[in-house]
Symmetry: C2
Subunit: 144 residues, 2 copies
Amino acid sequence: MPKMTFKANAKSENPMKSVVETGHFKMIIDEPESMGGTDDGAAPVEYLLAALAGCLNIVGHAVAQELGIKLNGLEINVEGDLNPAKFMGQSSEERTGYQEVRVTLKPDTDADQATLDQWLASLEARCPVSDNLIHETPLKLSLS
Amino acid sequence: MPKMTFKANAKSENPMKSVVETGHFKMIIDEPESMGGTDDGAAPVEYLLAALAGCLNIVGHAVAQELGIKLNGLEINVEGDLNPAKFMGQSSEERTGYQEVRVTLKPDTDADQATLDQWLASLEARCPVSDNLIHETPLKLSLS
């Protein structure tokens, strides 16, 4: 299949708040007042977790259909821990991003455990966002 | 510093659309009609790029302040390429996530090139979202 290219264009509104356009959608990204932001939107690290949850919903339904699993509903809870030291400009031995991301999937289904285990195993391998988290992804930063 | 835990809770509305809550914010994640979605929100892989852009805006301003750079404005363009084959259930040698993510930063500033090069070099090291992309991040999936 041909590669697809996705884009996001952000404009800073203030040091913590940006408005990001992806196609015809706009997202407001900010920080809570406790972090010095204006709390007009979720934080970047929350957008990252949301991306993962949204991706697992889509892949979860696609794989379920392939396995003959009927999903009456699906909830996905995602959480991650990070040490904000380096982000805040302090020296730290710990990485600045999430040290681990935990996902709990709650499918509403009558499928048996063996089928659900097979379903779960397929999700990581198929979901683009989980792939970008689990494995190294080259990032190229440049100035315009 | 103590670790911080962030959470996102997603409920599926249909096979492609989910509503994600992070704190008191809601995000709609969907796919365009061309991908079989209802186009009520941006795609998960677009949320991932937005998270990166929003993170670089915040870290960009923090590092600029530390370096004495006055930012009158900042635009951040992010793009990434992926092959949707594996995501769509086809076999593929290529990874399912972004193969590369490119970021172009457009700071409106009078700072000299050497200072801007120093600024750019700090961004990758400090931004949690770029850290989670560049380096491996453990992901734990479980069924509730």
